[in-house]
Subunit: 336 residues, 2 copies
DNA sequence: ATCGGTCCTGGAAACGGTTTCTCGCCTGTG
DNA sequence: CACAGGCGAGAAACCGTTTCCAGGACCGAT
């Protein structure tokens, strides 16, 4: 077995003393401690984290729910968060929701049942706050990147409105007027803000809202591919495409290559996010990059602070991080 | 609080009955069950997974340790595994080791302390089998993609030898003779097998082992970039590059673009793995793709079977999956 | 000699579920 | 009427820790 009691038995001490000896408690004789640690090692004793957590009512574990592990966007966040938690002695449980509200809720429930101390959530659904009640107290939640506005959670967001507006303005300044926007589900706050930013930029330029050029879908390469084909078939054909996610961009490029449309000569392309391969794409892509590392760190600090302060009610804080436009070679003035 | 006993108190029953009512036990009056579930819902009762696990001595949780979440290779494995576990009612705890042996071991220990029922491991170090003793029994482990040969674990591997040989033969058949190989740490089994495959293909072609053309590093874009610059500086310059990992490939392409080396006119490029962007790269990359989905599923089935059969000792099985050469447009006969 | 601290150690009660054992009740049967 | 057996429910033990409460030993001060 090798439980605490087994160790206690072999050294002829009580479980209490063994526990104290191993957890560095003062008031335990150094020779006794030596005997205990030696016996523990020999028996291959490994503490049971479950039992400990049950007793001390804290797991030092934080749950992270992200929609998609293939998206650099979220992969990067996960990496940063994990590093930050490690520094503070927290473990990370990573869940992948595939942007499915049912999965989303199910993971939330699971994490609550496992009594994680806190949750960092990239929501794919709006959630009932009381789903998070567990063992009497409310589990602290920090929302990352996406926002469920009615629920009163802390949030660390990017300024999607500004980002989309910046990309659109860049195209407008080059002279583009028919700009197709490819984006994800309208249910996500990110999608809505980006579309709003796009519209606002058009309005600034005195253009009416051409909502027939906004194509909603899911953030997958297939969707980007199909939407691009649809865009290319339009008459008059748009002179620029705004891809609202890196996996969409993948499909966009494939469709453009299939149709032998040259970028930026025949069509300009701007994209949200900046995964590794944007810079080495041919041509390198003009994009809007987010300070993901910083955002991840802030999210980690926020949730850790919330956990530490306990149930003290404090109004939620919402932070928005500005990104940066990177002009590369996928944009040029329209030809015609 | 909302514990089981609280529910019991409000409906005037014993904790035992409430437990039975909620877990679908027979021999509990249907009207009683109704009252219990109603009360549980009203009180917001949420079972404590820790307490349950402590009692029933199983967590229905499986740990997965991967080196790098940014690598499509592992991201895909994680996705497949998660899906498979979900079907069988297992949860997944995902740990990212960054290919650091210290992290690797630390996660192994953490997972053991949390009494996961099994572990799927992409090893970054050779591990002591007895590190996995926990609560008396040995936690089952399945190794994925990489192999620690001395430890007696089940393993689901790709045939790295064959893959590297296939890519090298493809280049040789086109007439290449000076083929540089860019690869990761020599400590990984994957790296060693791939280098062996490369050497074997050269030997078949009657070429001596030109080990000065094998550049070891780490599987990062920076490393690919720097190694490529080093390769380009060699005289005579190699006519082809073999990139042994997708993040390496990223750096290779960037370095080639900076040096204005055209692919495949001036230099051919083959790459291991096949992430989404290989096909839309310019030119699309010739590569060796692995049946990741299938491998993930087999790994999941294997670990679940091991968990189910308990401590029954059974000799470890090692499976190797063959991949497939995909010839795209990054390879051509050498010019000179 | 008594008292009041430190310094060690042990007993026992949690933590929140599950499971075994037991027991009473009811019904049907010989 | 005695009895077997199925059903429903409760008491108590258990999982492996931590921690509160006590108590004994030892020391110096009163």
């Amino acid at each position: 077995m090798a439980t605490l009691r087994d160790v206690a038995k072999t050294v002829g001490l009580s479980a209490a003393t063994v526990s104290r000896a191993l957890s560095g408690h003062p008031y335990v004789d150094e020779r006794t401690r030596g005997r205990v640690v030696r016996a523990a090692r020999e028996l291959g004793y490994r503490p049971n984290a479950l039992a400990r957590a049950l007793r001390v009512q804290t797991t030092r574990t934080i749950g992270l729910i992200i929609p998609d592990i293939h998206n650099d966007f979220y992969a990067e966040s996960a990496t940063v968060l994990q590093g930050a938690f490690e520094e503070h002695g927290y473990r990370l449980i990573l869940c992948i929701s595939n942007s499915d509200p049912a999965h989303d809720r199910s993971y939330l429930r699971t994490l609550a049942e496992h009594r994680v101390d806190g949750i960092v959530h990239v929501p794919s659904s709006s959630i009932d706050a009381h789903e998070l009640d567990a063992g009497g107290r409310r589990i602290p939640v920090v929302e990352l990147l996406r926002h469920s506005p009615d629920a009163q959670f802390d949030a660390v967001l990017s300024d999607d409105f500004d980002g989309a507006a910046a990309l659109t303005r860049h195209l407008l300044a080059l002279g583009h007027r028919r700009i197709a926007m490819l984006t994800g589900p309208g249910a996500f706050s990110t999608t809505r803000y980006r579309v709003d930013g796009y519209r606002a930029a058009l309005r600034e330029a005195g253009l009416g809202p051409n909502d027939e050029l906004v194509l909603y879908g899911s953030y997958t390469p297939e969707c980007g591919h199909d939407a691009t084909r649809a865009v290319l078939a339009r008459t008059p054909r748009p002179t620029a495409i705004f891809s609202s996610g890196s996996r969409l961009t993948n499909g966009v490029l494939r469709a453009l290559a299939e149709a032998c449309v040259r970028v930026p000569d025949e069509l300009s392309l701007v994209a949200y996010e900046d995964p590794e391969w944007y810079a080495i794409s041919v041509p390198p892509l003009t994009c809007y990059t987010l300070p993901l590392r910083e955002m991840g760190r802030v999210a980690a600090d926020t949730i850790i602070a919330r956990v530490a302060e306990g149930a003290t009610p404090r109004p939620p804080v919402v932070l928005r991080f500005a990104g940066r436009l990177i002009v590369r070679e996928s944009t040029a003035p329209p030809r015609a």
